[in-house]
């Protein structure tokens, strides 16, 4: 549900294109094409798709953390009123942490094993908020408490190896939120966790989002997670957005054949008595994208019209779908 009072979204991504350079004699290759969505205050936006569809590249591009060789070629990323595309890395460094933060799948590997977790959280507060050592240490304990780590004062002095996977992810969340950002990008934050721990971390994200008024973009491949916690969903395939919708609309009437395929591929009890549903073929590799509809080669509904590039068409309440036959097929 979009927040009514938030007139302007916290984060607006429009027509974002990212390419990878391939050295002399080769043309640059598209990694992301015209990716657009926005994120409102108190909104949990799910970004879904299989591996290789550009989910992680989208969040890295927003953060200005694209790997070497990849660059944003056009489009815009507005954080509030401020354009992030084209900023110097020093400027981005001041914005990251304070206004926008990111957490990753492998929390344990994102922490420095040689320093106590409290120190690592305090470091962020000292750098971005110019806090004193003492104030930053107090802030670290406050943050650990906020993310539900018991005996925070004591735990702040411990090292990452003394924390379980779920606890490490809580520490990462504490670190990401230490400087009070409005936007949190969470890239598969619960994928490596056990299902019981995953439920706790999702609950934590949901609570923090409401209490602190965060906008959270949750990158995930798990549609169950999306159904449980997200308000709005962006489905990506081969570097572009193929569908976006409110979560209930997406699950009730998926417009794009790829979304339909993903939903159909979830194992359910009826598959005890009939085969599991697959989507024919596999996600195309980078550079192997069709010039028309990128899902076309795998689509059971493809027609001649799918040979040409497809634009996003309105679908359902507030939704849009990149399919020429939207409404005719499945749903």
């Amino acid at each position: 549900m979009r927040d009514c009072d938030a007139a302007a979204p916290l984060l607006t991504v429009s027509d974002l294109c990212v390419q990878v350079e391939r050295g002399r004699g080769h043309s640059a290759m598209d990694v992301l094409t015209d990716v657009s969505f926005d994120l409102a205050r108190k909104e949990m936006l799910g970004i879904v798709g299989e591996s290789g569809c550009g989910k992680t590249m989208t969040s890295l591009a927003i953060m200005g953390l694209l790997p070497r060789g990849l660059r944003i070629t056009s489009g815009s990323v507005l954080l509030g009123q401020d354009e992030l595309v084209g900023r110097s890395s020093a400027e981005l460094g001041r914005i990251r942490g304070r206004r926008i933060a990111m957490i990753f799948q492998n929390a344990a590997r994102s922490l420095n094993p040689s320093f106590p977790v409290g120190y690592q959280i305090a470091e962020v507060a000292r750098r971005h908020l110019s806090m004193s050592r003492r104030a930053a240490a107090a802030r670290a304990i406050e943050m650990l408490d906020l993310v539900g780590i018991p005996r925070a004062t004591e735990r702040a002095r411990q090292y990452p190896h003394e924390f379980s996977g779920g606890m490490c992810q809580r520490v990462m969340i504490a670190m990401a939120l230490a400087c009070g950002p409005d936007v949190l990008l969470a890239d598969e934050p619960t994928t490596a966790l056990d299902v019981t721990v995953q439920a706790q971390v999702l609950a934590l994200l949901r609570r923090l989002q409401e209490d602190l008024g965060l906008g959270v973009a949750l990158v995930t491949h798990d549609l169950g997670v999306v159904a449980e916690v997200c308000d709005h969903v962006v489905v990506m395939y081969a570097g572009e957005v193929v569908e976006q919708a409110e979560v209930e609309a997406l699950f009730a009437r998926p417009g794009h054949p790829y979304t339909q395929g993903l939903l159909g591929a979830i194992p359910r009890s009826e598959h005890r008595h009939r085969p599991f549903n697959a989507i024919p073929g596999a996600v195309p590799r980078l550079g192997g994208w069709s010039s028309g509809c990128r899902f076309g080669p795998r689509c059971i509904h493809r027609s001649d019209a799918c040979q040409r590039p497809v634009a996003l068409n309105a679908w359902g309440p507030e939704g849009s779908v990149r399919c020429v036959r939207v409404g005719e097929v499945g749903g």
Binding site: I149, A199, Q200, E228, E248, A265, N277
Partner: protein, 343 residues
Amino acid sequence: MSVLELDRIVKTYPAARGLLGRGRRRVTVLDHVSITVEEGETVAVVGESGAGKSTLGRIALNLIRPDSGRTVVAGQDLGALSATQLRRYRGVMQMVFQDPYASFDPMVSLEDAVCEPLLLHTSMSRAERRREALRLMERVGIRAEQARRFPNELSGGQLQRVAIARALATRPKVIVCDEPVASLDASVRAHVLNQFREIQAEDRVSYLFISHDLSLVGALADRVAVMYSGTVVEQGSTKEFFAQPMHPYSRRLLESVPEPDPTRRRLRLVDGALDAAAPVADGCVFRHRCPDAIDACRVAPTLLPTAHGGMVACHLASSVPVRAQDPRSLQQDNGPAPDLGPW
């Protein structure tokens, strides 16, 4: 007849030694675990990481030896075999692991990889082996012209199907599958799962299917064993288990599975300082995390039969399914359980 019988398996490892190198403590990884798999049956082993699932799978294959307990495969006690006899016997049991790229030699073509078990376990000629390898690969949907390729030339889903073909080469009775589809994308996972199923229908092969994905287990397995901290806390038929989990840990697991239906959000978003499975020296392994723990839980419960033909290790098992504060469980006797996940 049971094809695989794991009987009171115990496995311990030495604990990390202290600074003085005198630590003689041992950590119990598996504590009297018993699981049987019947012919043509799929038994899923579920539980969180560190519960001992993979260790159990490796013991079933005799890749590691248990401290005590028996592993009986197709009537043969593996502990009684010499190394040479065991090697000859290995054809009866095969395995498929999580990461297909790590299970193949990158320098060996797929065809040669599938031929290798035939070389070891049969007396086929080179031409016969080649023909058989192609037949096996065709069975899992790999075309002859792909057989000459190398592992890195295939997608994860295709390569996992070759892994299945290779496992089938020796006509095994039981295949241990350790998270075989966990690394695969949603849209290709189904191909591999269907393959597992077709093969079982044709060959009556049995699977010990290790997985953390409960939705998948619910659709695929005949029986489920839930492991927690090295012990089996509950086992029973998949249908009964999903309709009426008896152990508090089983219920916690099922409640944690996100349901792909936004109109029925039911994740207990009770966020709090839970977590941290403290090691338990005595008593019930789950008691520190158990919402229902009572004094009696200081004594370890034994695995006892339930009314529905399953087994559960919980002192409260008789009172667990009907809890006054949980109206859902009261309805469970009449009709399908309404809210426990997709089942």
